[in-house]
C-alpha cells in the first residue's frame, strides 16, 4: 500500500480523531491508523467529556454521541483513614441543556467519534501498529506499520499515539518519560441497576455526580482518587505520581483495593459487579515537561505532547483542542501554499500558546514540583482537617473555646506556625 496521503494520523483517540476529522472535513486525503480492534479498545480515561472542546469540532455532537450522565454535582473529599471532610457543589444550572460536561465510556465514545471521522472522509485502518516513522534526513515522510508491505507516505504525519509516544522516542524527537512526570492510574468499572445509581447519588434522569478525593487514600503519595457515575455503572479509580509508587513500594492494585474498602466509599459500591480493570499513565508533568511538538513533516498532539491539566483533571479537552489546532495549522499552511517544514509548523506551537491549552499549563507550571516537595498536603493536612472537624462536632462536655484551642494546637504541633504560613504561601504561589 505504497500510497501517498495528504496526512497520516497515528492513533484514534480524542486528539487523533479531532485532527483527522478537521483535515478530512476540509477535503484532505487522510489515513488514520489505529492499533486496537476498533477505536477506543486501547484507550483509558476516567472519563469526563467537556462539551466545549468537542462542540468546536462537532457542534451537534449531543444528537448521537454515547453520553452517560451530565454532571450536576461535584464533590471534593479530603479523607483520613475513617472519615472525610468535603465540599459539594450542586447547581440546577448544570441541569439545564446544553450541558457543560458528561461522564462517558471511552470504548463507546471513541468508536462514535471515529465514525464521524470516517463519514467526514478519512480512511481508517484498525488492528495495525505503527512501528516507526519513515525519515528522509530529518524530515518525516511516512510511517512503517506492522502489516506486510506496510509503508505509507504523507505530506504530514500527526502523532496522536498517546502518552507513551513510542514513535517520537524511536525517532529521537523526545526523551523517555520520567517517573516524576507521569501518574499511574488504575480504575475499575462496577455495574449497578440504573435506579440504584440514581437513588444512591440523589439524581434522576441523566444527571450525575463526580467525587474527587485526596488524602490518606494515596498513602502520602502525590495523587487523587475519583468516583464517577455513569448510567448503569460507577467508575472508581486512583492515580499517583509514578516516582511515588517507586518510593513507597506500593502496588497500585492494592492501593485501589484499600480505597474501595474506605468506610465512606464502600457503601457507594455495594452490590456492584466489577466488569473491567484498567491502568493508564497520565502525563502530569505540566508545562515544563512538554517535549518538542513539531518538526519537519510532523506534529504531536494530545497525551503524546503531555497536554494534561492535572490540577483541573482535564485531558481529553486539551487533546481534542490540540488535535483541532494541529489540523487547522496544516490547512492554513496548505492554503497559503507554504511547505510543512519545522519553521512553518512552528505556527502550531504559537497557536497552542495562545489557547487555553498552554496558558493553563503555564499557569500551574510550578504546582507539580511544589506538591512533590511538600507531601504534607497529601498527608498531614487531610488528617488535621478531619480531626478538627471531629473535635468541633463531637459533643462531649468540653467547651467550644477549649475545642478551638485543641484544633489550633494540633495544627501548630504538626506544622509549626512558620510551616503553616509557608504552606499557605506555597499554595498561593502555585495557584497564582
Amino acid at each position: 500500500m505504497a500510497e501517498n496521503f495528504d496526512a497520516i494520523v497515528v492513533g484514534a483517540g480524542p486528539s487523533g480523531n479531532a485532527a483527522a476529522y478537521v483535515l478530512a472535513k476540509a477535503g484532505k486525503k487522510v489515513l488514520q491508523i489505529e492499533r486496537g480492534e476498533y477505536p477506543g479498545s486501547k484507550n483509558v480515561q476516567g472519563a469526563i467529556l467537556y462539551s466545549d472542546a468537542l462542540e468546536r469540532i462537532i457542534p451537534d455532537f449531543r444528537e448521537d454521541a454515547p453520553l452517560e450522565r451530565h454532571i450536576i454535582e461535584q464533590r471534593i473529599w479530603v479523607l483520613d483513614e475513617e472519615s472525610f471532610i468535603g465540599s459539594h457543589f450542586r447547581s440546577d444550572d448544570f441541569n439545564k441543556p446544553p450541558y457543560n460536561r458528561y461522564t462517558i465510556i471511552r470504548a463507546q465514545f471513541d468508536k462514535w467519534f471515529s465514525q464521524k471521522v470516517q463519514q467526514a472522509g478519512a480512511l481508517l485502518i484498525c488492528e495495525t501498529t505503527v512501528r516507526d516513522l519513515i525519515l528522509d534526513g530529518d524530515r518525516v515522510v511516512g510511517v512503517q506499520t506492522d502489516r506486510e508491505g506496510g509503508s505509507v507516505y504523507a505530506d504530514i504525519v500527526i502523532l496522536a499515539d498517546g502518552v507513551n509516544s513510542m514513535l517520537a522516542r524511536k525517532a529521537g524527537f523526545r526523551q523517555e518519560l520520567k517517573p516524576d512526570d507521569v501518574a499511574l492510574a488504575v480504575k475499575e468499572i462496577h455495574f449497578l441497576p440504573q435506579e440504584v445509581v440514581e437513588s444512591r447519588f440523589n439524581v434522576s434522569g441523566d444527571a450525575g455526580v463526580v467525587i474527587e478525593m485526596m488524602g490518606k487514600i494515596t498513602k502520602g503519595m502525590m495523587g487523587t482518587g475519583f468516583l464517577y457515575t455513569n448510567k448503569e455503572s460507577i467508575t472508581i479509580g486512583i492515580g499517583c505520581v509514578l516516582s511515588d509508587f517507586k518510593k513507597q513500594k506500593c502496588s497500585p492494585s492494592q492501593l485501589l483495593e484499600e480505597m474501595k474498602a474506605h468506610p465512606a466509599i464502600k457503601p457507594l459500591l455495594e452490590g456492584g459487579e466489577m466488569k473491567e480493570y484498567a491502568a493508564h499513565l497520565i502525563p502530569e508533568g505540566g508545562y515544563n515537561a512538554i517535549p518538542r511538538i513539531f518538526g519537519n513533516g510532523w506534529l504531536m498532539v494530545g497525551d503524546a505532547g503531555m497536554f494534561v491539566n492535572s490540577v483541573h483533571r482535564e485531558g481529553s479537552n486539551l487533546a481534542m483542542t490540540s488535535g483541532r489546532i494541529a489540523a487547522e495549522t496544516v490547512l492554513e499552511l496548505c492554503a497559503a501554499q507554504q511547505s510543512l517544514t519545522a519553521r512553518n509548523l512552528a505556527l502550531y506551537r504559537s497557536k497552542l500558546d495562545a489557547s487555553f491549552v498552554i496558558k493553563d499549563l503555564k499557569k500551574y507550571r510550578n504546582l507539580p514540583g511544589i506538591l512533590h516537595r511538600n507531601p504534607q498536603f497529601f498527608t498531614t493536612y487531610p488528617e488535621l482537617l478531619n480531626r478538627a472537624a471531629h473535635t468541633l462536632l463531637k459533643v462531649d462536655g468540653v467547651d467550644k473555646k477549649a475545642k478551638e484551642k485543641q484544633v489550633r494546637d494540633s495544627f501548630r504541633e504538626k506544622r509549626s506556625l512558620l510551616g503553616l504560613v509557608g504552606d499557605a504561601y506555597k499554595m498561593w504561589r502555585a495557584f497564582e
Partner: protein, 97 residues
C-alpha cells in the same frame, strides 16, 4: 497485593494474546537478578506481570499486560526492558476503557 487478587481483576478483562510473541521482554535477566537492587517492576506493574522468584530472578509474563508503559518508565537506572506495543489487534481489548 497477592498476584491471585490481581488475576481475579484481570479475569474480567478481554484479551487477544499473541501466543509465543510477547511484546515486552527483559533484555538481560542477569541485570534484574544481580545488579538491580529495587526490582520496581514487580511492585509497580498494575497487572502483576512481573514476579520475583526465590532465587532473585524476575519473571515476566505479558498475557495480562494493560499496555500502560509503567515497567519501562520505572526501569530508569538499567533500561533493561524492551517495550513495544503488541501487533495490531492483539493484547488488551478494553470493553469500556
Amino acid at each position: 497485593m497477592s498476584n491471585a487478587k490481581v488475576e481475579e481483576k484481570l479475569f474480567q478483562n478481554r484479551y487477544r494474546v499473541d501466543t509465543g510473541r510477547p511484546h515486552i521482554g527483559i533484555r538481560d535477566p542477569d541485570i534484574c537478578a544481580v545488579t538491580c537492587k529495587t526490582q520496581q517492576c514487580a511492585v509497580c506493574c498494575p497487572a502483576g506481570c512481573y514476579t520475583v522468584e526465590g532465587n532473585g530472578r524476575v519473571v515476566l509474563i505479558t498475557d495480562g499486560c494493560l499496555e500502560c508503559g509503567t515497567c519501562r518508565v520505572v526501569c530508569e537506572t538499567h533500561r533493561n526492558i524492551a517495550w513495544e506495543y503488541p501487533r495490531g489487534g492483539f493484547g488488551i481489548l478494553f470493553k469500556f476503557g
